[in-house]
């Protein structure tokens, strides 16, 4: 087993222990950080191929709304059902949109994805049945018929989120080391050569786009359960911007980077809000600026430097 997988297993063990031991405010913070790490993991897959979508919140919101609407219809709070419904909604949208998106690159790709996310935002804002901009509540989480006390449910939700997130990170790690995964760097460098080698660039990007959308949808479902509320702000461009921001902060070097970046971001923001209630955005922005100036490869380059550069 390679070191990344071992690292992921250690992180999973830490989260499972954390789900029992952490104070309750940290439990929900960790759940949200893991949920967002899933979205950022998807962005990392695209970033490897040189693609940055400015509308990933589209799938994040689709996951949340897919789960929220299905559960509201069913009158249940089942996390498993919610995960299936929300992830399926986001995944099918990503597969469909992928036919179009796989034909675009660079700024056109970024702007087109932004346009789709704002389209969803516009639809949700006008929808009075879904509460418009106010959104609606998601029922308290239950697990396959088991309805623990709210405090316990939060801890179980963290354990579920950790298992899912770490599983996905391991799967993406394996994918990135496969031929299809390694194709990403080649696509970023020279698409024509990739085509001459006999691979379809468009299909490779379509697959990556679908993977990223599915992961974002899963992250959206977990966020919805953790926050207990869904609103159209989840698909607004600032949400997409935040994901890109954290992706850049973490770096694209390893699948461990999204987890590190996501956690650092949530923790920095939490303490910035506490110690600088009227200037916390400036603090968060300054931290990103410092990271980009000092570590152009993102947080992850800290670890790479120590170990010597080696391919992921």
């Amino acid at each position: 087993m390679d070191r990344t997988i071992l690292g992921l297993l250690a992180i999973l063990a830490a989260f499972l222990a954390g789900s029992l031991l952490l104070p309750s405010w940290a439990v929900s913070l960790a759940t949200v950080a893991l949920a967002k790490a899933l979205v950022i993991l998807g962005l990392l897959v695209l970033l490897r191929a040189g693609l940055v979508p400015f509308g990933q919140a589209l799938f994040f919101a689709l996951g949340a709304y897919g789960a929220g609407m299905a559960l509201r219809e069913a009158g249940s709070g089942d996390v498993v059902a919610g995960l299936f419904a929300g992830t399926a909604a986001a995944a099918s949208a990503a597969v469909l949109l992928g036919f179009l998106m796989a034909r675009y690159r660079e700024i056109f790709f970024a702007m087109l994805s932004l346009a789709f996310s704002m389209l969803l935002y516009g639809l949700l804002v006008k929808n009075a049945a879904l509460g418009g901009t106010d959104g609606f509540n998601v029922p308290a989480p239950t697990f396959l018929g088991w309805a623990p006390s709210p405090a316990t449910a939060r801890r179980v939700l963290l354990a579920v989120a950790a298992a899912l997130a770490i599983g996905c990170h391991a799967a993406i790690h394996v994918y990135l080391r496969s031929t299809m995964g390694r194709l990403a760097t080649a696509i970023r460098d020279n698409e024509i050569r990739v085509e001459y080698l006999g691979a379809s660039v468009q299909r490779a990007i379509h697959v990556k786009f679908a993977i990223a959308g599915t992961l974002a949808g899963m992250g959206g479902v977990l966020t919805a359960f953790s926050a207990g509320h869904i609103d159209p702000g989840m698909s607004y461009w600032t949400a997409s911007g935040e994901f890109v921001f954290v992706t850049v902060m973490g770096g694209a070097g390893s699948v461990l980077a999204p987890i590190a970046g996501s956690f650092l971001f949530e923790i920095v923001r939490t303490y910035a809000v506490e110690y600088a209630p009227q200037a916390w955005q400036a603090v968060v922005g300054a931290v990103l600026l410092v990271i980009i100036l000092v570590l152009p490869g993102g947080l992850w380059s800290l670890f790479q430097r120590r170990r010597g550069t080696q391919p992921p």
Partner: protein, 433 residues
């Protein structure tokens, strides 16, 4: 007259409560109550709403700790405990608002939370407050859904919900312009704008069945540039134009429409206009109908408490107190009234449950008017409301409101247990005006 003797009677009662609290004060003198105050201190809603609310919270908490608030709130502290304020920004995503609420309660050990301007924040925080069993008082958010979707145990709101604003505006329009034949609206395209228009529209139809609706304009939030919408409103020939605009949108709209003289063709009704009138001054045309989401600011009743509040606020911040300041003051005073009552009954520092119990169906003296926690099973306040007509006093350079009409609480709020939209649709059945 009746009002006056009534409040004197309440004063005696309050004095008795004060005496009871004072008796237990030495034991709890060192105790503090950590009060989370959540409001927009950054972003678009900070200027008109968040900062005035934060200012009021700072002013009141200091005065409460010093025992300087006039009767019936002269007793020091809340429930006998000195108050320590923890300020938190409401800006950010709803997920972040929920996380910050958890941080406030679970990490920073807030004993109670007062806050929230956005209806989305209130809806998202409500289930968490119930889960964590933490007393939470909403001071400003408008949506009736908070207490109409389910009964709540730990969540209260000391401001009337937004139904009152639409119904009050419609009553004022029909009263002052008896021959009104048509009306249109321009509202921001998000929940507050959509709900405000819905309530005003339904109330107008209930008061004057069959009256003509000319145009419904829904520009997007913070659009800032309304030439197309103003053209549509000018062409519509409406007698009345309703708007729940706030912030930069409100100021831009007023200035842009003045240039094209929309206000000379249609009577403008600005339900949240009071937050902008002092900044606009002479740029706001005379004759515009102005609301303050209750009898607040220049629409407030003249009481010793209000005189003190306006003076203290102006002395400290050099601007007049607008309605968000009043809303915040009501939330803190309501919490104090409930906690002091619970402390008097318990004979010691009350528990959260005891305060919540005392809060239900509580009646307390607010700064602008009297507040009754009469609906939503005793968790949702109703107050009277007032509308006035703008007049810029050229001699003093002061914005004023004339032709002020007050509407009693039962006239503009639904009865307990009745869904607000259904109530307006039913022709406001049971309204006592």
């Amino acid at each position: 007259m009746i009002r006056k003797s009534h409040s004197r009677g309440r004063g005696v009662l309050a004095a008795a409560a004060v005496a009871a609290v004072a008796a237990v004060a030495p034991a709890s003198a060192q105790e503090t109550m950590r009060l989370g105050v959540v409001t927009f201190v950054t972003g678009a809603a900070a200027g008109p709403f968040g900062i005035p609310a934060r200012n009021a919270a700072e002013l009141l908490i200091e005065a409460i700790n010093a025992g300087k608030v006039p009767e019936p709130y002269a007793a020091k502290g809340i429930g006998g405990a000195a108050v320590e304020m923890i300020l938190v920004d409401e800006a950010g995503t709803t997920t972040q608002v929920v996380q910050e609420y958890r941080n406030l309660v679970e990490r920073r050990n807030a004993d109670a939370v007062v806050g929230y301007i956005s209806s989305g924040s209130c809806l998202a925080v409500t289930p968490v407050a119930e889960e964590l069993k933490k007393l939470t008082v909403f001071f400003d958010c408008g949506t009736p859904r908070v207490f109409e979707e389910a009964a709540r145990s730990y969540v209260f709101r000391t401001a009337s919900h937004a139904t009152m604003d639409g119904v009050g505006a419609a009553r004022y329009v029909v009263e002052k312009l008896p021959d009104v034949k048509s009306y249109g609206g321009i509202n921001q395209n998000y929940a507050w704008g959509q709900d405000s228009w819905r309530d005003f529209n339904l109330a107008m139809q209930a008061l004057k069945p069959g009256i003509k609706v000319t145009t419904e304009q829904f520009p997007k939030l913070f659009q800032g540039q309304f030439s197309a919408e103003i053209s549509a409103l000018l062409l519509s020939g409406s007698d009345v134009v309703h708007s729940s605009f706030w912030n930069g949108d409100l100021e831009s709209f007023v200035v842009q429409q003045s240039a094209r003289a929309l206000h000379t063709k249609s009577r403008l009704v600005l339900t949240a206009g009071e937050t902008a009138m002092f900044r606009l001054g002479a740029k706001m045309p005379d004759g515009v109908v102005i609301g303050a989401r209750g009898p607040f600011g220049v629409l407030a009743r003249k009481t010793p408490l209000n005189d003190w509040f306006r003076q203290a606020y102006h002395d400290r911040f050099n601007v007049p107190a607008t309605y968000p300041s009043y809303h915040m003051a009501h939330a803190i005073l309501g919490l104090k009234a409930a906690a002091d009552k619970a402390a008097a009954a318990a004979g010691k520092r009350p528990t959260t449950e005891q305060i919540a119990k005392a809060f239900e169906y509580l009646e307390f003296e607010g700064v602008g008017t009297k507040v009754r926690m009469a609906i939503g099973k005793g968790h949702q306040a109703i107050t009277e409301t007032a509308y006035g007509t703008y007049k810029f006093d050229k001699s003093t350079g002061e914005p004023t409101l004339v032709d002020i009409t007050h509407y009693p609480a039962e006239c503009v709020n639904p009865p307990d247990g009745v869904d607000s939209v259904e109530w307006i649709k039913s022709g406001m059945k049971g309204a006592k005006c």
